[in-house]
Symmetry: C2
Subunit: 478 residues, 2 copies
Amino acid sequence: MEKQIKNDAITARDVDFAQWYTDVCRKAELMDYSSTKGFIIYRPYGYAIWERIQVYLNQRFAETGHENVYMPMVIPQSLFNKEKEHVEGFAPEVLLATYGGKEKLEDPLIIRPTSEVLFCEHYSKIISSYRDLPKKYNQWCSVVRWEKTTRPFLRGAEFLWQEGHTVHETEEEARVETLGMLKIYEQLGTDLLAIPFMSGQKTEKEKFAGAEETYAIEALMHDGKSLQSGTTHYFGTGFAEAFNIRYQDRQNTLQYAHQTSWGVSTRLIGSLIMVHGDDNGLVLPPFVAPIQVVIVPIMMQKEGVLEASEALLESIQKLGIRVKLDRSTQSPGWKFAEYEMKGVPLRIEVGPRDLANGQVVLALRDTKEKKMVPVATVVEGLQAELKAMHQRMLVAAQNHLEQHITDADSLDELLDILNHKGGYVRLSVSASPDVEQIIKEKAQATARVIPFHQQGLKKTCAITGEPAQRVVLFARAY
Amino acid sequence: MEKQIKNDAITARDVDFAQWYTDVCRKAELMDYSSTKGFIIYRPYGYAIWERIQVYLNQRFAETGHENVYMPMVIPQSLFNKEKEHVEGFAPEVLLATYGGKEKLEDPLIIRPTSEVLFCEHYSKIISSYRDLPKKYNQWCSVVRWEKTTRPFLRGAEFLWQEGHTVHETEEEARVETLGMLKIYEQLGTDLLAIPFMSGQKTEKEKFAGAEETYAIEALMHDGKSLQSGTTHYFGTGFAEAFNIRYQDRQNTLQYAHQTSWGVSTRLIGSLIMVHGDDNGLVLPPFVAPIQVVIVPIMMQKEGVLEASEALLESIQKLGIRVKLDRSTQSPGWKFAEYEMKGVPLRIEVGPRDLANGQVVLALRDTKEKKMVPVATVVEGLQAELKAMHQRMLVAAQNHLEQHITDADSLDELLDILNHKGGYVRLSVSASPDVEQIIKEKAQATARVIPFHQQGLKKTCAITGEPAQRVVLFARAY
């Protein structure tokens, strides 16, 4: 009872992965383009995925003592210029407002590309004693970065994200926060998105402008490229010094505070599409899916079909499962293709012949399996089906990831792996910036992370022949 | 056992209401100023109130078939200019971005003051048949209006809001939507905010730029002024004609669609402050309060006090009540003032002497009543206390409102009422624009709403002596 037809509405992945991606974004009705390049419209189905991510993270943030706030969407240019590295990192890509109410602004306003300076300015006003610490704030908002090349969810002139900004008494506490939030992002992957993130530290070259250390979660896409899907930063006291965030410590001495920041964005939707999708469209992990079960009546006009469908709808809703009954006059075939495109995990087909036998068809989006299930017991099995699918998708992605971490000992090996297999290449390298420069030029790949587990460190740098100092994962990346 | 001391940290309401308002905004830590005028920081306590409003409305919107989306924060100037009245209404107060990534933009970008044109442009692309209708979208976002005079929550250069935008097959359906959403806003008032809104239609002069009809909820502040707290608009086909939103109807004829829009904003926080607050600070209705119960241990070092407080905390949390135990080393007196300032509905004081008698003190924020309650039963009574307080606050606000709707028959009477009593003045007037012009000039008051119940319509216009056509409520307003 298997069904393996490709959906003709979209390009096949192996024919043109980039086109497949764009097709899925549009045809699954996740987004639409607006008339301003790089500013996309998050349609209901795409936005609902983001809302599921928000619910998960808001709960985790609250559990760990974080509070939500909202900062202005504009930053005066003069304020933005306070932290030098930060300015250099962001200045080339800002959107600048110069007129307010038809008058020219004396101090032009930058539409926030990120809000460090706003948080820092506020913190400098409200923090004076160790008793005021820690401050652990988070903000959900949109940010603007004037990118030349944009792609839906992956790189936008505007995107939605959360940015956490915290202030601590000690370096140790700030470091614990930095790694703790990375852990929460990893759990977001395993619990909700069925994505096993590859996590670790960023190299000096790849770290955030203004951070002492940056950590990242990276996800491996179906095409073998890596997508940075979230970052956490340890700032040390750099911003505190630039913005004068000081507190009286327990010995009555003024100290600069230690800070962190961390964020994930709607880029996670891009990860979901490219990790799990197939030639029929989106495949959504059950816990993040806006619709978890769709009921498709077959020959709706036949007696009992709509009634049975409505009864199922009601029982499933009672379980708190997100379910939709499609009563529209479109054909069942159209509906099958539509909800496959949208990646709905489970489909229940309610037809008159099966009903006569006390059965319905349950179709699984990930494996494309279809099975007959007694109508009397189909509902009680749904939670288990959803959990099993989540687990299956996570394991499949884990296997794909593990099969695509390959050791190499030379630039030639690296090139060979990237060109023929893709994924991450594990190299023992020196910490010299030359290594990344050479790999960038010769292989169009970048250092994704320095993994926490440094097992297998060799003596010699695979690229320069100098003594190797660390194991680094390289990949081509979005 | 009553306590009526004024909190010295804030100005008394009757001394300087405007200063009292600003004091409460700051001292209750609802907001802070940023370095850009009119762009405020929503601090955790203020933002949490907004989140409660979001939860309530999101549930109501979903129940009534609305879907959340997110549109770009920028509108190309050329697109903005499409609907003439709309442009004239908003153009004088826009923030304009003219540079992107250091290059001058050919078509400057307006930071959205409202998103009609973005929704319309999208709708024109995705609607082609009556089968595509209705479309009922809502967006949570921030908008920017370059206001000269700004006040926290009441009038901001940036504020947070939700904007609903819907498209319908028929005028009738769109009108039902317009009034249905007004009803939901009224229920937001009675269910969550304990604010009895005065609702009705706006006059031609006061309606939204581009709408055929505007309806509003108005709230009466403690100082007798009215605050427009939300609006719903019936657009007719005006925007559909400007943006070419057409659909094939059931007879295969192309028709322009009928539209609505509606919104409430963080101005509701201003309503909450000015309707319920007192000389000790904020008084929050229980269901919208971020902290519903605060536990203050007295002489924390004494045996049993902290243990009893922790036990209460745990039992109260289990009920799903938002509760905080303040374990800080501040004095009980400081804590009392602090949580009164923040308007926390219930305070439980846990002291060693009362505990020895098996009792705790329960203090009610609205009435300032303090009562002894057995520690064994205090928790089980909390839900009822919260409900009773909500009801009490709603009734008090209703009484205040009813006592401040006054009939008048002439401009002199109107002036007398506004100068000595405040509130709404009910006038029978002609529909001529002169009426509002005269009242604006002579009494600095505006038409707030044309109430749905037109009882008491007199024959002669109280202002012009022409035949009266309608009853209108006038007031001074924020």
